[in-house]
Symmetry: C2
Subunit: 205 residues, 2 copies
């Protein structure tokens, strides 16, 4: 397996497969097929077989995939068999929603610290967390060797906060601000913007 | 232009181009190139030229794209030159964050009604909206001919609520619940799940 040669578009589908497989596992189901998985996630069975075969031999003709085995392998491949510490920067509505979201823990992530620059918010509670000052954020992130951040500040502040995160050693930023961030090549950014998803659907209406 | 033949993956990139172009327009910039646009959105200039050429002849060698013209065309293509009424179902943290989000209006969407099934929430305010009872939701949505919904209920309730939305005539669902929804072929679903985005990045760490 040569990780660097797998197209990012395939990597992007693996978390979707993993989520579906984990839900089947939660129901006590032990095996599945590319057909069944395809119906759940809305991707063709052929595509699923092709994607999964990139990472080695899974499943056998006629017997299907062992769910626990495939879950384990996908968690290995995506490096979410442990737990990544994550910081949230920006404690508006979205930051609060994420701080209280309970879907991270069993999927490889753990909110570690939350930050804002508003003196009225600093020191307040958000879920289980005390909101920390963004002044001094870089040192705290560096000190804890945190590599993953969620950025939920307003668009005007996003690039400056991203720069601070990059300086602090963060290598993966999930950006909720509706702007494209400039980051060095070794830093990954994923965007969550509800409007782009809505616009992708209105095309078909 | 044969709309049905444009691959969905290209349609998915158009809202990203549109967002970047609108931000350039907001700064008063009148023309851009595929190189400049590519740097902003992190997609190759060649890919951008290829994507945009699917919809006709835009821009000229050497002079670049007219931003107002391209914005107008993309808004036409994506059908966001008007304003779509949208409902939010599920007024937890995420529903509240979306109800107060001010980034919909100038991009083709308008929150019209918000719903929850919790008697303690029904009748309360969320941003400018009164929270309505999900009982009777289908009639209200049908009455207003609303086609677009954002679903922010817990995973266990998501399929049932999606079924009600489909019955009410909704054709586009933005799903924040971490499950895959079963809907008829003529209904589009897009998923927003922060964990799948995070997992897509940890692969590279």
């Amino acid at each position: 397996m040569n990780a660097e040669k797998i197209p990012d578009i395939i990597i992007g589908r693996l978390p979707v497969y993993l989520r579906a497989l984990q839900r089947l596992a939660d129901k006590g189901i032990q095996t599945t097929s590319s057909q069944e998985l395809g119906e759940i996630v809305g991707i063709s069975a052929a595509q699923i077989r092709k994607d999964i075969s990139q990472f080695g031999e899974f499943g056998k003709q006629g017997t299907g995939y062992s769910i626990p085995f495939l879950v384990e392998r996908l968690r290995d491949i995506l490096k979410v068999n442990g737990s990544w510490d994550v910081v949230i920067v920006g404690m508006g509505d979205m930051g609060h929603a994420l701080a209280r979201y309970n879907g991270f823990g069993n999927r490889g992530f753990h909110i570690s610290m939350v930050f804002d620059n508003d003196p009225k918010k600093i020191g307040q509670k958000a879920g289980d967390f005390e909101i920390l000052d963004t002044t001094g954020m870089a040192e705290k992130i560096k000190g804890h060797k945190i590599k993953v951040a969620m950025l939920t500040v307003p668009a005007v502040a996003a690039q400056e906060m991203a720069d601070q995160l990059v300086k602090a050693g963060v290598k993966a930023i999930l950006n909720y601000a509706p702007i494209s961030l400039n980051v060095p090549e070794d830093v990954r950014v994923q965007y969550i913007d509800p409007v782009t998803h809505l616009q992708r659907m209105t095309y078909y209406l």
